[in-house]
Subunit: 353 residues, 2 copies
DNA sequence: CCTATTCATGCAATCGATAGCACAGAATTA
DNA sequence: TAATTCTGTGCTATCGATTGCATGAATAGG
């Protein structure tokens, strides 16, 4: 029977966190043994494994991931670049991303959140912390981070935005969503359509508007009135005011806000001007944020499959992190129509997909 | 004139990212020289410094912060624990936190976002990544992370929440905010008051309600009707419905939602029931989120000084990270009254603070 | 009873950056 | 010209964890 390590070197100076070395000293074994024991290496005897595990628990040992990543080459960090969180969509996306990343054993390094371009220092952090991959959801302005990723072979995936140059992407089928809503409105009997767009340089905005417009054109109707130019509630509100100010006979009877917050802004302005939604004007959006589903709005919209988008996004990252593939790909997921009460119910014919 | 380094060892195997070692090889100097040159050590000659800087730029060298932190003991990471982002308040807070942290050269490690308790694995990441400090804003449930921080001497600061046990905190003076609004409503001539509370276990909710109630009591009025119990729009909406269902003569004529989303929910329900806000019932909130300032709501509220709260929070962290102090402290900042149009304008007497 | 294996563990190098100390050669002073 | 002080760099250990290889003991095979 061995006694507990007899001399027990008087626990050298620094009283910081426990390390493999300090554990090894207390156990009277080599650091490599401790390391292997903690990682359940089959070569370590069960007794030793247990003894070390108990010791680790006792002193509250936690591995230093930073040190580990020096050897392993993987930091376990994913860089996250978020758009302006005034739009709840980004907040919801973030929440999903944190949860799903954690489930895969990754942590998110929050590089940027909000409008405005990414500062150089921030973009550099992406490299300094050796992130294993990068998730970009900012509507625009991501180019800088994207370029840096590409130049340094950091796997990059954009969510809710399709890249112009480098990087893979996961997005909702925006074109289809726009078309779907146009269809819905046309069936409800609407003939004078309008679309309120977001930032013209973002794929989301342009594609949605285009899908909408194409369907309207296909129906032989004049091109929808175009308003907007910025993805915010304020912009939608202004557009709504413009619409409200038009003479009733020329006024659109249905409006697509290419994002839910835009649509909400439009609704707010119209109602404030005494124009009923959906009685006088129907309003629809795209995104499916929680706020738009709430009582005063109850917006008819195409919800993005957020959970799935994040999942596929992380899948893409993972594949690229493992070097399985380098080819860039774009994944489009179909959104889900949510019928609220912001569209007039009239001549709409059910059925027929 | 010196030629470019003559032999130039044929750039050994691995073609990964540049390191001090690879730079040193190409420059034909020692790694320590490279390190010092890049950190502008005065002992390095200007020519050498320039030569190395140029080389670093050429090969796109970026220091490996993970490796540096091994030596330096500082990771430059701040753990961030966020509450449910359904409440835009948290999203706004996060946005400020990212920006301000970056300005101080710190990066945020997003540990948790959303409702629900922090998973063990998440909390452990806090230690594994050797965060220099931790910022917690989750209304409740933070206890786990807080305990871990305390046990491991990780500086911890809670923002918008006052701790029960360990950790320092920065918060708005919730009591004062509640009292201020009670005062405002009383002056406006309201006599039948109600308060819709959030989670009873959160300091924010209880303190605000208490400040409100105390002021009401001081005016010699009966205690305000209490509703709520959960900090969400849905809860506010339900409370609003309850209020709307009361017989007019017994119905409160003014309601405080202890948070803006609660107040928004109340407004939505009341208006939907045909009860005008502020004509029939006044509604006020606390937080000052952007959404509540928008047209349909235009909520009268006490805005939390978000920017300042984050700043003071980071200050507290910094002091503790530098070991300047260990004492726990609570900082209260006064909120700002924002007058919207959700309060009836009547007998309100101006002046007098 | 002696030589192959297998098993459990130790040794030492490694990842990338930093910092203390050593050491040439130049500049200064005696 | 010799002694001394700077200057600018190099050498090497260090941070914490991992891993290939070596080593000693126990076991199996002949």
């Amino acid at each position: 029977m061995k006694e507990s390590p007899p001399p027990l070197p008087p626990e050298p100076p620094r009283a910081g966190r426990a390390t493999v070395a300090s554990l090894a000293r207390r156990a009277g074994v080599a650091t490599s043994t401790v390391s292997r024991a903690l990682r359940n290496d089959p070569r370590i005897s069960p007794e030793m494994r247990e003894r070390i595990a108990a010791l680790a628990l006792e002193v509250g040992y936690t591995p230093n991931v930073l040190a580990r990543s020096l050897v392993g080459g993987q930091s376990g960090l994913i860089g996250l670049v978020l758009g302006p969180v005034e739009n709840p969509f980004y907040a919801e996306l973030m929440q999903k991303a944190v949860a799903q990343a954690a489930a895969r054993g990754w942590r998110l390094l929050l590089l940027h959140a909000g409008p405005g371009p990414i500062e150089d220092a921030t973009a550099e952090a992406l490299l300094q912390y050796r992130v294993d991959g990068c998730l970009i959801t900012s509507a625009e302005l991501s180019s800088r981070a994207a370029a840096i990723c590409a130049a340094n072979r950091v796997p990059l995936v954009m969510v809710n935005r399709v890249a112009w140059e480098h990087g893979s992407a996961v997005s909702c089928d925006n074109h289809a969503a726009g078309a779907l809503l146009a269809d819905l409105l046309l069936r409800a009997g609407h003939r004078r359509l309008a679309v309120v767009t977001g930032n013209a340089r973002t794929s989301t905005s342009t594609e949605r508007a285009e899908g909408f417009a194409r369907q309207v054109a296909a129906a032989g109707l004049p091109a929808p009135l175009r308003l907007g130019g910025d993805n915010s509630h304020a912009m939608g509100y202004r557009a709504g005011q413009e619409i409200a100010a038009m003479p009733p006979e020329a006024r659109p009877d249905a409006v697509l806000g290419v994002s839910d917050i835009l649509a909400m802004g439009v609704m707010d302005a119209l109602r404030e001007a005494g124009i009923g939604v959906p009685e006088a004007v129907s309003v629809v959006g795209i995104d499916g944020i929680g706020a738009a589903r709430r009582p005063p709005y109850n917006l008819t919209t195409v919800a993005q499959p957020l959970e799935a988008m994040v999942e596929r996004g992380l899948d893409l990252l993972q594949e690229r992190m493992q070097g399985r593939t380098r080819a860039e790909e774009v994944v489009l997921l179909r959104g889900t129509l949510i019928r609220g009460r912001s569209v007039r119910e009239s001549a709409e014919t059910p059925g027929s997909a």
